[in-house]
């Protein structure tokens, strides 16, 4: 082995954060009871293909008034901001001065359904909150998991010294398993999907895309979305 002092660090890293609400059970029960009956044609996003096994609502959930959605919105955005701030080189004071816009929808992935791969345009961050999830299946490790795509093409040449690189260097996708009360935060450009739900219960997610504006550069001046 070399005696030279060396360092190893990731470059070009993709930020990924997760958070868990303190006591999410009552909130999730109320959200499930309120949202599940709204998975109707009237609430479905007409811009997206209809899928009997994957319902995607209009992207206006955060404009709805009342509890428990207002509470969920506050908690999702607060957790996201905490993570995003840590990924940026700004002070807390500077970050708190930013303007913020968020749009959200709820998604229900039924048994044998999947959410096709997508990324979220005109936003910088995506946050996904899990309201309800099917039981874990040891045999089907990716069942109903959010799969974040690793699309680096440098992995086209593999040999014995790069095919088994460990996190965060390895080539391949990243799985985040939705657990009720937990949320994931990652860049909105990152393609992601929900792998086929092999369980016998629905997966209910709230997915938001978020963008920020510097003080003085009003968020209203940003491109319409």
């Amino acid at each position: 082995m070399s005696t030279a002092a060396s360092t190893l660090q990731p470059i070009f890293a993709v930020p990924f954060g997760s958070a868990r609400l303190a006591q999410p059970d009552r909130l999730n029960l109320a959200l499930s009871a309120g949202l599940s009956p709204l998975a109707t044609d009237a609430q479905r996003d007409p811009a997206l293909p209809a899928d009997p096994l994957c319902f995607r609502s209009r992207e206006e959930l955060f404009e709805w008034q009342g509890e428990p959605l207002s509470y969920l919105k506050r908690e999702m955005l607060a957790a996201m901001c905490s993570i995003v701030m840590r990924a940026n080189s700004v002070t807390e004071e500077q970050f708190n001065a930013l303007g913020l816009q968020a749009r959200a929808r709820f998604v229900i992935v039924r048994p044998n359904g999947a959410l096709p791969a997508t990324s979220l345009p005109l936003a910088s961050w995506c946050v996904i909150y899990c309201v309800a999830a099917p039981d874990l299946s040891p045999e089907r490790v990716d069942s109903a998991a959010v799969r974040l795509y690793g699309h680096r093409l440098g992995g086209m040449f593999l040999d014995a010294a790069n095919w088994a690189m460990r996190e965060p260097f390895h080539y391949g996708h990243h799985l985040w398993r939705p657990v009720p009360g937990e949320m994931a935060v990652f860049p909105a450009w990152l393609p992601h999907e929900v792998a086929l739900n092999r369980g016998d219960r629905d997966l209910l997610l709230v997915i938001a895309r978020v963008r920020f504006a510097n003080p003085g550069a009003e968020v209203e001046m940003m491109p319409p979305w």
Partner: protein
Amino acid sequence: MVTQPTMIRLSSGFAVPFGETWLTDHQRLNRELEALFLSRETSEYRNPTPSHAPQEETFESRFNLFKWPEACVRELRLFMLGGVADTVMQAVNISAEELGKLTMHNHTWFHITRYAGSFVAHNHPLASWSAVYCVRAGERVPEHPGSGTLRFFDSRTGADSFADPTIPRLKAPYALRPRDLRLEAGQLVVFPSYVFHEVAPFYGRDTRITVATNCWFAEKHN
């Protein structure tokens, strides 16, 4: 603002070559292939070292299909590898004579997909050209128009994260979106192995059967 008409010449930069062709009169060959593959949907023929989490709904064979001696396999080999070679000839600055001096290697296997089977997005390291041939498309399901779609992902990941009214309306071949192919029996598609692709969940009540090959060329050694 200048009103003089411009003489812009539009061309495609950073293009990805896709080859497509169809086998005419494929019915007999596909019948024979289907019968052979179904008879060998067994542990003996299953890929023992899958690169992705295997699914019970999708059978993946060993990668030595084109070493099988059966006449129908040899016939398919000729068609598929010929399609790859034709694509290479059109996309690469190489003469037929130069190509003929290279050895063409392949890993080839078949998939049998049943209800709710899919295959995760992936590409094929250590290969240059990949191809998929459709033996049986499987039942079309009107409420699931994407059922069993072979979906190719745009290699310009993130390029559409800013979208004004023009970007989402880019025409082919400039459009920033996945390219979906609902394969038909007898259809062959050839593409660079670096392109990420997946099979969307299949919701037919029957089977979807495809053959895939990864190819690479090497100098012949005497």
